[in-house]
């Protein structure tokens, strides 16, 4: 891991990790490492999951009953905990996604006002 690589990486915003986890689980059940890896992979390694915050985040979601957990077997035949989206989680994801869209759009308008204008 060179320094250059690290410069391109972005620390996750507070609270966005929850959203990303939910979105990742929309594809199907996954265990902790897989979730972290998926987030990094799907963002082309730009987003780095602060792994220390992954497990607290997972449990936060469990507590709110947005995800559930099941024992399962991982790809290399090991027992692992698999997290999966609940119905409640799905609704929440939709809600959060639309909120996120509004937020990014709003921030975008502020940061690049010229792009919106005709000139």
């Amino acid at each position: 891991m060179s320094t250059k690589e690290e410069k391109n990486r972005i620390e996750l915003l507070q609270g966005t990790l929850d959203l990303l986890i939910l979105r990742t689980l929309l594809l199907g059940p996954a265990h902790g490492h897989a979730i972290a890896k998926a987030i990094e992979f799907r963002s082309d390694d730009v987003l780095q999951v602060e792994q220390g915050s992954l497990y607290p985040a997972l449990h936060r979601l469990l507590k709110r009953r947005w995800i559930s957990v099941e024992e399962g077997t991982s790809e290399n035949n090991r027992r692992a905990k698999f997290y999966q989206l609940t119905t409640l989680g799905r609704t929440q994801l939709a809600l959060e996604t639309s909120k996120w869209d509004k937020l990014t759009a709003a921030i975008g308008r502020i940061l690049r006002p010229t792009e919106e204008g005709p000139s």
């Binding site: 891991m1 265990h31 902790g32 490492h33 972290a36 890896k37 602060e50 792994q51 220390g52 915050s53 497990y55 607290p56 997972l58 449990h59 936060r60 469990l62 507590k63 957990v69 991982s74 290399n76 090991r78 692992a80 905990k81």
Partner: protein
């Protein structure tokens, strides 16, 4: 909770798997296994912290943390027992002493009477007191019974005015006879106070009518419980009061123990029973005998000032209607000028309050200061500890503990200390307040105070404990918050980096020393004052004197023979071999007062008068300066003679030869005008008490010439044998002559000591608190000096390596001590005079600003401070330069 456990189960396995998978990924990317593992761990972060954070999602974290903090705190405190014991004891003593004193103040001062509307309760008194007119049973708040009758019939500003007075009665018969505290009450009292009987009924105005005989007696709850075992069928039974069976008509509720604080009543009888209970008793009609207290409630909407003004106008008629006879016109002028006024009485009447409240507030101030020192001490100890624990804090911070967690940890620790200290303090408080009460309780004054723990005291203690713990808990917390963990880790121990805390600790120690000096000065003053008092020469010899009070009204002696009977009793006592000399007197040292208007060769004034038997001066060893003592030839029919004191001569005769001069006394009821010839001069004696500055003019006359003998006598007995043996012999002798004689003994010296109780209490308590403060301040000083030595270990090592001698090192450390001590003493010396100024009235023979006391206290404090710093100074010299330098 269950769900939480299910969810968290296997969390560490999950994390381990996670890291393993990450490691595998890294290996797949071409790292060596070892490198891959470290990279994975690095990326994952602090495993413990992740686990903790994850758990925290699920829990009432604060609760778990608190539990954990408590467990950890307890372990920590157990690990350093020295610190814990000192801290807890410091707090317990501080809190215990404060609570005890507060408790007492509360019982004596703050509590209102448990009666209807205590705020509107007022007492009626003569404005400005009665100036010693007539005969007084107590202080100047008392009125005569005829005056009360006037008030009852004519006053308009109060509702339910009532009168009462406490009185000693005997209950039971024969061997079962015992003395109890009774109340004379007017019929209005219980109804006016709005209290309801526990059993039966209370006395009413129907009962309290002139010539009522003995309509009934009301018992106090305590008396009913202890003497009758809470007998349910008590009402209707008879109680023998002063040999008269009286029907028990009711029992008072437990909360009502009377109107006088510290003196709970046992029985209550109506005033009108007076003549029936004691055939001779004419107190109800005596216009010169001041003995009843009159109280009442202000009518609603009437202010105290309004009631006073109204009463002042009305009382003119009441006074004129009750002018006593038998006085000279001169004396009566005082009486005509009397006017009544009202004073608030909702807190009850209390001699205790009058004599102790100033002292109690002072003591509360003292204990408050002690608590302050105690807190400073704890803070200091905690600071020293937290700096020693700097490394532990740093490690925990580095391991991911949050600052907040560390701070709460420190606060928990202090709360633990405060809690233990407060609990122990409460126990100590109980012990202290019982000790205090036994210290101010005397034989003559059975003190009963309600010391059951009430919420106010509890609130007070908790407030003290919590404030204390927060005060000293936060200081170390701030300390550890301010430090950079990396610095602390690097230095590996307490470091010079904490210059500021160092300064804070110095301030703490300097203020501790300053406060200790103030307390020490106070202690010195009160101890010296008490010492002065015990060294006062009263003009007579106090030790080896027993006083026997004998009452023979049950013997059926007729008034003409009272004097003979008293003389026979004296003769019997004199015949006992153990008795060296004995004499009767109508006045006993420091007990009551009898004043008479006199005219000596045209010079008018007042003189004390006592009627004594021959041998009185010898028994008390009062030297005769001139003339002769009384003898058996001075009888009722011989010319009236008197021995006067030197003050009497000085006041009335100046340089004239007193012998042979004539005293004319002014008439008073039962004491007609008389003419006495002076036959001797006695040395002055103190009359009212040891604190008396100048003895009053005093005259003695022979007991045979006493115009108003009663069925009782007091005999002063001098003996070099143990007084307990003497009293036994006297009792045997007297009761073998007649079993109807009541006899009581008082040891003169003891009774005089009992009168110095306030001074003794103050000396004892301020002394012990001063000592306590000193110890606490020295612990503080010791702690800080040790701390400074530890901080400067490297510097000391370098100095020693460069050739400094042990003496140099000791000088450096002691210099540090001295500068702190001097600063503290300087501040204390400025504060002490301000603090002790209020104590002037409580001191005897010494001024509050006495410079000698200040100097002595300072020197004492300074030398103790030096001693306290010798140990750390010695430890400094034991520093091995090599080790100290390497440590750095």
């Amino acid at each position: 909770m269950k769900r939480r456990e299910r969810m968290l189960r296997g969390l560490d396995q999950e994390i381990r798997d996670h890291i393993e998978m990450a490691t595998q990924d890294n290996i797949d990317r071409g790292m060596s296994p070892e490198e891959a593992h470290y990279a994975a761990v690095r990326k994952f972060g602090n495993v413990t912290r992740v686990q903790e954070d994850t758990r925290e999602v699920w829990s009432f974290t604060w609760f778990e943390n608190a539990l954990q903090d408590v467990r950890f705190g307890l372990r920590k405190l157990r690990k350093s027992p020295g610190f814990t014991i000192v801290a807890v004891l410091t707090l317990a003593l501080g809190i215990g002493a404060n609570t005890a004193i507060f408790h007492l103040i509360d019982a004596v001062r703050l509590r209102s009477l448990p009666v209807r509307d205590p705020q509107s309760l007022v007492s009626l008194q003569i404005k400005g007191g009665n100036h010693g007119f007539g005969i007084n049973a107590g202080d100047e708040s008392l009125l005569t019974y005829p005056l009360w009758e006037q008030i009852r019939d004519h006053q308009t500003s109060l509702s339910g005015a009532f009168a009462w007075e406490s009185w000693d009665f005997n209950v039971g018969l024969g061997a079962q006879k015992k003395s109890v505290i009774g109340l004379w009450v007017s019929g209005e009292m219980f109804r006016s106070l709005g209290i309801l009987p526990e059993k039966g009924r209370f006395l009413t105005t129907e009962d309290d009518r002139a010539g009522c005989g003995t309509p009934g007696v009301v018992l106090s709850y305590a008396f009913w419980r202890t003497q009758f075992g809470s007998d349910e069928s008590i009402v209707g039974q008879k109680l023998i009061v002063d040999s008269h069976p009286i029907e028990i008509i009711g029992v008072a509720p437990a909360k009502f123990t009377g109107l006088e604080i510290g003196k709970a009543f046992d029985i209550a009888v109506p005033f009108c029973s007076g003549p029936a209970l004691n055939s001779k008793d004419t107190n109800l009609s005596r216009r010169e005998f001041f003995w009843v207290l009159v109280m009442g409630h202000l009518k609603s909407g009437v202010t105290l000032a309004h009631a006073s003004a109204e009463l002042e106008t009305l009382s003119r008629g009441m006074i004129e209607a009750t002018v006593p006879s038998g006085y000279s016109e001169d004396a009566l002028k005082t009486y005509h000028d009397f006017r009544l006024t009202t004073l608030p009485a909702g807190g009850g009447i209390s001699n205790l309050r009058q004599s102790y409240s100033a002292s109690l507030w002072l003591l509360l101030g003292i204990t408050g200061l002690v608590l302050l020192i105690a807190c400073a001490n704890i803070a200091n100890l905690m600071l020293v500890r937290s700096s020693v624990r700097g490394r532990e804090m740093a490690v925990r911070l580095a391991l991911g503990a949050s600052y907040w967690r560390l701070a709460t940890q420190m606060i928990t620790e202090s709360l633990l200390l405060a809690g233990t200290g407060a609990a122990l303090g409460l126990v100590l408080a109980k012990v202290f307040s019982h000790t205090l009460i036994s210290l101010i309780r005397t034989e003559g004054d059975r003190l009963q105070l309600d010391l059951s723990l009430d919420w106010r005291v509890l609130l007070f203690v908790s407030a003290v404990a919590i404030t204390t713990s927060v005060v000293f808990g936060l200081a170390p917390a701030f300390e550890s918050l301010r430090k950079e963990p990396v610095d602390a880790l690097k230095s590996g121990g307490p470091k010079t980096g904490s210059r500021q805390s160092h300064a804070f600790q110095r301030v703490l120690v300097v203020s501790q020393i300053a406060i200790s000096l103030v307390l020490l000065v106070g202690a010195f003053l009160f101890v010296l004052s008490f010492w002065n008092l015990t060294k006062v020469d009263p003009g007579f010899r106090q030790d080896g004197v027993l006083i026997a009070y004998m009452g023979f009204d049950k013997m059926g002696v007729t008034p003409e023979h009272y004097d003979d009977t008293a003389r026979q009793l004296l003769a019997q006592i004199r015949s006992i071999p153990l008795v060296e000399s004995a004499a009767t007197s109508t006045h006993l040292p420091f007990n009551g007062s009898w004043t008479s208007g006199v005219d000596v060769g045209g010079v008018q004034g007042q003189s004390k008068f006592s009627w004594v038997s021959p041998g009185y001066l010898r028994t008390l060893q009062i030297p005769l300066a001139a003339g002769r003592d009384f003898n058996d030839r001075d009888t009722a029919t011989s010319p009236r003679v008197a021995i006067v004191s030197q003050s009497f001569v000085h006041k009335f005769l100046g340089a004239h030869d007193p012998i042979g001069k004539v005293i004319r006394t002014a008439p008073e009821p039962d004491y007609p005008a008389a003419v006495y010839e002076i036959i001797g001069v006695a040395k002055d004696t103190k009359y009212t008490g040891l604190r008396e500055e100048t003895p009053p003019a005093e005259a003695y006359a022979p007991s045979t010439q006493f115009p108003a003998p009663g069925p009782d006598t007091a005999v002063l007995i001098r003996s070099s044998a143990p007084l307990s043996a003497v009293s036994a012999a006297v009792r045997d002798k007297v009761t073998s002559a007649s079993s109807e004689i009541d006899i009581e003994f008082v040891v003169l010296k003891k009774s005089i000591e009992d009168r110095m109780i306030r001074e003794r209490l103050l000396a004892l308590l301020s002394g012990s608190f001063g000592f306590l403060a000193l110890i606490l301040a020295m612990i503080g000083l010791y702690g800080v000096i040790s701390y400074i030595v530890t901080l400067r270990r490297a510097e000391i090592g370098i100095r020693m390596a460069l050739g400094a001698s042990r003496k140099n090192i000791v000088t450096i450390v002691l210099g540090q001590t001295l500068s702190l001590t001097f600063l503290g003493i300087a501040v204390g010396a400025l504060l002490a005079p301000l603090a002790t100024r209020g104590a002037a009235a409580l001191l005897y023979g010494i001024r509050p600003q006495d410079p000698f006391t200040l100097v002595a206290a300072s020197v004492f404090l300074g030398s103790v401070a030096l001693c306290a710093s010798v140990i750390p100074a010695r430890r400094a010299t034991l520093v091995d330069p090599m080790i100290a330098l390497r440590y750095e």
